[in-house]
């Protein structure tokens, strides 16, 4: 469990509110470590959110998104038993995916 993700999804009056917390350092590449060596850029570049198989949000990010990113959005048509999946990929080629079921 090196980089967990937590997704909360709640449906009210046909609108599903999704809140996601992602574990990621979001290094800008402009900082230096204690020894004065530059810390390489390491940040999420792309986020994809799907409701079952349908794309509900797509994002491209730069390094200015805060460390351990928080994302909140809303879509229509979610029903109990449906799944919401969020995936990210970063500039070092790492990726992560997490799914939650709507209740």
């Amino acid at each position: 469990m090196a980089s967990p993700m937590r997704i909360r999804a709640k449906t009210t009056d046909g609108v599903t509110e999704v809140k996601a917390l992602m574990s990621h350092p979001m290094e800008t590449g402009m900082r230096k470590d204690a020894d004065g060596k530059p810390i390489p850029a390491h940040y999420i570049t792309e986020v994809t959110a799907t409701h079952n198989d349908k794309l509900v949000l797509h994002a491209y990010w730069g390094p200015a998104v805060s460390q351990n990113p928080f994302l909140n959005f809303r879509f229509k048509g979610g029903a109990a038993g449906d799944t919401v999946t969020i995936k990210w990929v970063d500039n070092q080629g790492e990726s992560q995916s997490e799914q939650t079921a709507l209740t």
């Binding site: 570049t45 349908k54 994002a59 491209y60 998104v65 805060s66 990113p69 995936k87 990929v89």
Partner: protein, 153 residues
């Protein structure tokens, strides 16, 4: 829990293909497929707008909510809601960051034209929400003051 990159790309491709076949918004699917790299690496607002395809028009139809003063510039919450019909994309810009463009969101049909994110703000400046609606760019801006709280870092 870690997805290999290849399977991620395959899944992403499937999702995009599925969206493209809904046919109603083929342009959106295309837009989502290309990262506006020139805008992300631009070092000032002018360059960013050039990368996005033009200067936005100021609009009162975009709600931008940010704190007036932030305790820590490393994490500044920002909420954007667009009331412009046909909102396709939402961009979040921080005027005086080394690269102003922080994030770009593509809003498919059925998703509310709203996003909430937390961004780094290097110094007191305008936070800007740019919305692409009906193929045109609109924007609104709000200043957030950045401080450093307590005993240093």
């Amino acid at each position: 829990m870690n997805y290999p990159r290849r399977s991620f790309l395959k899944l992403g491709g499937t999702a995009l293909a599925a969206l493209a076949t809904t046919a109603l918004w083929p342009l959106r699917a295309l837009a989502a497929a290309v990262r506006p790299e020139a805008a992300f690496v631009a070092k000032d607002l002018e360059g960013t707008y050039k990368g996005l395809g033009g200067m936005p028009t100021e609009s009162a139809e975009i709600d931008l909510s940010t704190p007036d003063i932030a305790e820590n510039g490393a994490v500044v919450p920002i909420n954007v809601t667009s009331k412009l019909p046909g909102t396709e994309e939402i961009y979040i810009l921080v005027e005086k960051n080394p690269n102003p463009l922080a994030a770009m969101f593509t809003i498919p049909e059925g998703t509310e034209p709203f996003v909430s994110l937390r961004v780094k703000v290097a110094q007191t400046c305008n936070l800007i929400a740019v919305v692409k609606a009906g193929g045109k760019l609109y924007s609104t801006a709000k200043e957030t003051k950045v401080t450093l709280g307590g005993c240093g870092g």
